[in-house]
């Protein structure tokens, strides 16, 4: 019984939100500017084992999932970029914690437009600097203070 409830809970959002051939999501404005190669792979600039592993995982995710699935993350920077930035700026302990928090916030169906300021590319602006536990680095925009 419980397993079937969990199955249904997983199935409903998958069916309601997944991209299909017959009902596609709204078109995203595509920029044809050549992207900066360094922004695609931030961590490889630092040559150590931990960052190398994270960079490798991120590249695997980017190649097999992100590139195929499209630009679907509602946040800017996207969750994968947030992960890479968090680790490069805050290290291997704080970085994953920041990512775990971001991942849960991304799962929230009711994030709403008032929770986050809207970036000029039309996504919720949620920079890494706000989550380093350093008050001086917090960026506050006029559209809200992060509350629901």
């Amino acid at each position: 019984m419980i397993k079937s409830i969990i199955f249904c809970l997983l199935l409903v959002p998958t069916l309601s939100k997944a991209q299909t051939d017959w009902v596609k999501w709204d078109a995203v404005e595509v920029s044809y500017k050549i992207s900066n190669a360094s922004s695609k792979n931030i961590i490889t600039q630092k040559q150590n084992t931990g960052s190398g592993i994270i960079s490798f995982l991120r590249n695997i995710y980017g190649f097999f999932i992100s590139e195929l699935d499209g630009d679907n993350c509602p946040f800017y920077p996207s969750c994968s970029h947030f992960f890479v930035q968090a680790i490069s700026e805050s290290g291997m302990i704080k970085g994953p914690l920041m990512f775990a928090d971001r991942f849960i916030r991304d799962l929230n169906f009711f994030k709403g437009k008032n929770s986050y300021p809207i970036h000029r590319i039309g996504k919720f602006y949620d920079p890494v600097s706000n989550y380093t536990l350093n008050e001086q680095m917090i960026e506050i925009a006029l559209s809200g203070n992060g509350g629901d």
Binding site: K94, A100, I104, R105, F109, N130, E135, G146, G147, D148
Partner: protein
Amino acid sequence: MNRIFYYSNKLILLLIMPMFITYGDILCQDSLKELDLFSYKSRLKFGNHLYLEKDYLRASYEFREYLKYEDNDTIRFKFANCFYNIGRYLEAADNFKSIFYNSTIQDESRLAYYKSLFFSGDFNLFRNSSRNEIYLPEKYLSEVNRLYFTSFLMDNSVLPDTANFISAFPDSNKNDIRNFYIQKKFPQYKSPTTAALLSSVIPGLGKIYVGNITDGLTSFLVTGVLTFLAIDNFNHKHSFRGWLFTGLGAFFYAGNIYGSAAAAQIFNAGVKFNFDNNVKLYFEKRNYFLPENNL
């Protein structure tokens, strides 16, 4: 006959025209010599024109040249005010000092000196000057006093006594000032430690405490589902899956504790930002309770 008359007219015109051009130029040059654009009086006129046009930087150059030849309190004031208007407040304060004595506008210049110190953002310097009663304008003591108390709302200094603070402002604004005072003294901050502790007891509770209710509920659901899956798999002897879900659950549990503390900090930064913004807008709208500068 007519033809001869016609050509003679043309000839005369040809002779006269160069004369007009030559002498006209000479006449103009004479009038320009009389005007002398670079005399100190012309510089004053041009400086005043630029000042009225709010081109303060160029006006200051003209006033500086003028003041080399003639001393004038009003121009000294305008010269200093040029720096004030272009945001070079410390330079303005220095120049206002030159009219502190033996002048009919010494009180105005002393008030302008205090205004310059205030808007320079160096509130400690402003308060020290005010507290030590250096160059206080007798005519504008209440204005400087108001600026003195306003400065406490704009930085992180310890607030002075309530009664003195509020009594410095007009009766019609006392309620607003009292509200600002209370907000500054007792800001509605949320403790990051409390948020983290609450999330460690019940996942997501810290986020709800901060006001991010849906984030809190999502955290609770995610952690709860992962914990259930871990227990269920251990009960069914699936130890690999059990440990996998345990690891994921612990990861999100720890992330939620961290995120709750971060959310509390973001909330506090928002409260501070809104307060600073409201104070700034309130006082700007009322010109910081200062008289209009008529010079």
